[in-house]
Amino acid sequence: MSQPVMEPMNYRVGIDIGGTFTDFALLKGDDIILHKNLSTPGDRSLGVMEGLQTLAQQEGLTLSDFLGQCDAIVHGTTVADNTLIEMNGAVTGLITTEGFRDEMEYRRGFKENIWDVRLAPPQQITPRRRRLTVPERVLFDGTVHKSLDEDAVRECCRRLKKQSVESVAISLLFSFVNPAHEKRVAEIVAEEMPGVHLSVSHQVLPRSPEYDRTSTTVVNAYVAPRVTDYLEKLVSRLKEGGYRHQLMVMQASGGVMTKEYIEGSPIRVLASGPAGGVIGSAHVGGAKGYPNLLCVDMGGTSYDMSMVIDGEAPAVAGWNMHHRYLVGVPMVQVETLGAGGGSICHVKNGEVQVGPASAGSEPGPICYGRGGTQPTVTDALLMLGILSAEAEFAGGNFSLKTDGVREAFQTIGDEMGYSAEEAAFDCWRLVNANMIQAVRRTTAGKGIDPKDTVMLAYGGNGPAFAAVHAEALGIDKVLVPKASPTFSAMGTLVAKPTIDEERSLTCAVDQPDLEKLKALWQELGERAQHYFAEANFASDRIQAKYQINMRYRGQNWALSFDMHSGALQDLSFVDDDLGTKALAAFNERHMLEFGHVREGELPEIIGVRLESSVDTPSPKASGGYLAARLAAAPMGYRQANLGEGYQETPIYQGAELQPGQEIAGPAIIAETFTTIVVYPGWQALVDDAGDYELNRTGS
């Protein structure tokens, strides 16, 4: 019998690098194939290549053939976030307008807790000695009030060089109106400090006011060398491996774009991994008929919480305090608690505590057998029988080892005067309590009762805990998508390639400067066309939304609304009626947002915006239970403590379960990359998409 001729596949791969694991979601037609392997903190691109190699092998292809058949590799990275968490970014300097040296330190007066006089300041990326100023001044209308003192710029360079500065942020007043001085400063710095990384504010965030733009530029300068080094390394490895397209990179806004585009402002990748998870959640929840979701993602090092309301998880631009720094680019809202499988259990002041220290992936939990000696949450799960040393872990990347685990918990037990098992159980209880409290803060802070939501659990550790948290929060249903362990990676495949940019121009709505407005939209359109062309997207695939920003004189916030949707560079809508149409749209929007319009006062146009995007194939997601409901058969039993003491507990193999099958708790489902715990009083159902739904039965 001859082998069937294999048509080359058009693969799409989503990749998300977490603190512990690097996750892969391979989209192959309508099928999703998941994979994960350990992250490689020394050079994270190595872990990516290792996983791609495994996927290629699974497809029966060489790496080169596999990558040659990849239409898109989409990547979410935590490199920028890790840099801000560990505060180990580039030695950064700031050059700004004379008189404005200290804006970064003032933070516009903002303090995270206005009642806590003991709140410590954030560590400064640019301490005062590295914040230098130059005489120059541009006014609000772009006119030059004071010319640039180029000698002063060179003196700044001398002082920054003395301090071994690696990355320079340049942020001058009103550069978003007239960037000439900023451009010239950048030229001089490039001459005087060859090899230094430059972040220029009118490119990173071309809008007012100065603190917001400067802070965003400074953070960009701080993370940029790490992000670009990493992406360049990865791109070159992918190219060597045979990948022929642009690497697409997830942005915090929930869209993806090319590495070349991202390198203009690498700050856009901050929080991109969690954004991928939220975008994926909205996609899956929507398809299954659950528009209101409480999304919880527990991996090795963190527990991320986010909300999807009415199917939406909108990106918010402006006042985003991220790791205590203002980042003005649009970001999907995710809140993080530093608790994960790697969180270390210990005794402090006579009390058992979990975290905040984490064993991360190196050395990792004791049971990984990679040199870890301190007991972690994952070790506790092993002690409790929720995980097993008999089965493969993380898709067969390695087996868990019991060596040293009991002894480590016994040390805690000795201090507390009880057994190792009780110590492990206390750790499990504590980490649950911490997470439940964190969810409450997130939902209560938004005035949302978690009861009104469906929980969607993902991340390698999410499904092991989800139902306990749901029960405490009054939630009756938990979704655990099959792709749960690599959900952020899958989310990157859902996200659309998107560019969303704006430009400033102030003019009266009854006398709009049509030529200038047109020129700005055209400029934004050309930028979008350029970057999409580089990513091999034909311009007829680009969907453009032309928006205008307007406000009443004196308002500090503008309303943005669509003036036209259609093809890129179709500016036929810019005609003599534009002002009238804009005014009508503004009035409608102002009434909707603020319940009134002002009598006898006309708003002003303050800028234009263009959101351009391309549709790409998304993983299918559906739900329902057309399949007959059948009881599933366990593949074995083991002693496990699911909160009610050690009991003989049935173990099911996820790969064997069929749509329609149901499992009553207590039970444990061993999926390839995660473990789903069906706690007592809960029932698991496999829906027609092969995803799990956990329902509270109460019995």
Partner: protein, 611 residues
């Protein structure tokens, strides 16, 4: 309008009557939902209003009051407004039949003699009824307006001797009746205001309150009025309990402090605020007896409502920050303010400037008094600035005012273990300071400098943050007003730390007409005039010669502290060059110098005791 009214408005109120019981988690969820309502209301106002005081400086506050007039949730905004809001509402509530309260109504009050702070703080509030027509809550939204229609644009008159000079006082007026705006009343109020965008700002306050009312109605429908009322009761009781637990840990005793204002607006010197804090078990009493009560003083009259609120602003910063801010705080503390003193004026006194001073000296005095009791939270929640260098002009649209940019770094004192940092004390931490790019796009001004000045932070084991020098040029003729305090009596250092640096202010800088303002001025500035305001820094905590020498070296590298001050104030001798960034501590020389300083300090202490 009397002392009696004040006492009645401030009297404790009963819990809401309810048949429901509530568990702590539900109470917390409902509180969270109320916080969200307040956040949305404050955000709505910040986005829809045009006044830079509201939309840039964020000088606004949203709170929820219960049907008995208790502060159910003091939330997003300025603490100094949060704790005064309920008295204005209580006046309306006390007269709800006269004012014909009903669903869909919106009210306004700003009268200092009817529970208010000062006239510019407009309090727009609206009752929230359940579906049976029972009053459950009241949403209040306050904001500082750019003008009040008095003698001087902006609402501040240096020589005012009565409230009528300052503008239109409104005890309670209905702006919206059963959902319909009262155009006659709104027009009257708009007519009494010079500010170009006032009409839009007032409209934004009304629509913000109306939005909140809808959200609160949804909340009441979801949980039922009884559960919401039980949650409000629980949260207030819990706050009182938590506050008392903190006080119970403080040593019993009487702790006193005096803080002085340099002078009133007419030059009468050394205006005293006296505070005694008595701790007995879990009961704290704050008594302002002994505070100046000279009736001839001008400009230094702080309303009764404001004085209570400023006491509470400081106390709330000296306990666990997690304690929810509501009526429970007032239930836990007895506040005694003698009638007729500058913290509890007789009717019709001017009120505008009193919200600066003595309001802030009350706060500072509470902090100084309790500084040995709670040293790790002893940071005064104040603005010692006399008043901002507001510049005011008129264009074809009407009056404009630029003031927010002036407030950069000031008054950020250290506490035990933490240097002062940022640009203002934490209680002001959500007054987002306005930015030069926004201000200059709107007003004919140029901001020339706002940088910190070396050596202006009070020295100490923990250092006060330096104050900023704010230099601004006006491009057209404008009026500007200033009242200078905190020069003779800058902010006090805590537990042996140095005082903050004094404030100074100069007009028409760099011209033959340049002058320093020692007292007060209401000036006309010509086009291109430059004004320069040096803010005082924060005060230090603990003796400066106990500061870690390495921290002093870092301060010198960052130019917070000069080489000279490192030696003279901190006793730290540095080798190397600041220019080359290679400073190092000369350990032996530093030890020797510090030994001398310590001996001198001890000698001074002995001398002080003997004296």
């Amino acid at each position: 309008m009397s002392f009696e009214l004040n006492q009645r408005l401030a009297a404790p109120r009963a819990p809401l009557s309810t048949a429901a019981a509530v568990d702590p988690v539900t109470a917390s969820i409902i509180r969270g939902a109320m916080e969200t309502v307040c956040f949305e209301a404050a955000t709505h106002l910040g986005r829809a209003a045009s006044s830079p005081i509201i939309n840039q400086s964020n000088e606004r506050n949203a709170s929820i009051i219960d049907a008995n007039g208790r502060l159910a949730l003091g939330s997003i905004g300025t603490p100094h407004l949060t704790f005064v809001t309920q008295l204005t509402v209580r006046y309306g509530l006390e007269n709800l039949q006269d004012y014909d309260w009903g669903p869909g109504d919106v009210f306004l009050g700003n009268d200092p003699d009817y529970g208010g702070g000062h006239l510019p703080d407009y309090n727009v509030y609206a009752p929230v009824y359940d579906d049976n027509g029972e009053l459950v809550l009241i949403q209040a939204l306050q904001a500082h307006q750019g003008d009040t229609g008095g003698k001087d644009p902006g609402g501040f008159t240096l020589e005012a001797t009565d409230i009528f000079t300052e503008g239109l006082a409104i005890p309670c007026v209905k702006l919206v009746h059963r959902g319909e705006k009262r155009r006659d009343i709104i027009k009257l109020i708009e007519r009494n205001n010079r500010f170009a965008t006032f009409a839009g700002d007032l409209a934004a306050m009304i629509s913000g309150v109306q939005m909140s009312v809808r959200m609160l109605q949804d909340l009441i429908r979801k949980w039922g009025a009884d559960v919401v009322k039980a949650a409000v009761n629980y949260n207030i009781e819990h706050t009182e309990k938590r506050f008392r637990e903190e006080v119970a840990n403080w040593p019993d005793g009487r702790y006193e402090a005096d803080v002085y204002i340099d002078h009133d607006t007419q030059g009468t010197k050394d205006i005293k605020v006296h505070v005694a804090c008595d701790i007995l078990g879990d009961q704290l009493t704050v008594d302002l007896t002994g505070t100046d009560d000279r009736q001839e003083l001008v400009g230094v009259w702080n309303t009764f409502g404001n004085s209570r609120g400023y006491v509470m602003t400081q106390l709330a910063a000296m306990v666990d920050p997690e304690i929810v801010k509501n009526e429970g705080l007032f239930n836990a503390v007895d506040i005694i303010i003698p009638e007729g003193c500058i913290a509890h004026p007789p009717p019709n006194k001017p009120a505008a400037l009193g919200s600066f001073h003595p309001a802030c000296e009350i706060t500072e005095a509470v902090c100084v008094a309790l500084s040995t009791v709670v040293p790790d939270r002893a940071a005064p929640q104040v603005y010692k600035i006399g008043m901002p260098n507001a510049v005011i002009g008129f264009d074809e649209n009407g009056m404009w005012m630029d003031q927010g940019v002036d407030a950069r770094s000031m008054d950020v004192s250290a506490v035990e273990g933490i240097d002062g940092w940022g640009s203002c004390p934490s209680a002001l931490g959500n007054l987002l300071l306005s930015e030069a790019e926004d201000a200059e796009s709107r007003f004919p001004i140029i901001n020339m400098s706002r940088e910190m000045t070396t050596d202006t932070g009070g020295a100490g084991q923990w250092r006060g943050q330096p104050g900023s020098l704010n230099v601004k040029q006006v491009l057209v003729p404008t009026s500007a007003m200033a009242w200078m305090v905190s020069a003779s009596h800058p902010m006090q250092g805590m537990c042996g730390g140095d005082d903050a640096s004094p404030y100074t202010n100069h007009f028409e800088v760099g011209t033959p007409n340049e002058y320093k303002i020692d007292l007060a001025v209401s000036a006309q500035l010509p086009a291109d005039a430059v004004i320069a305001y040096q803010h005082g820094g924060g005060a230090g905590f603990g003796p400066a010669w106990q500061r870690d020498p390495q921290a002093v070296k870092e301060d010198v590298l960052d130019e917070y502290v000069s080489l000279q001050a490192a030696r003279d104030k901190y006793g730290v001798v540095l080798n190397g060059s600041l220019e080359d960034y290679d400073l190092s501590v000369d350990v032996a020389a530093t030890q020797a110098l510090r030994a001398q300083m310590k001996a001198a300090a001890q000698a001074a202490q002995v001398e002080g005791v003997q004296a």
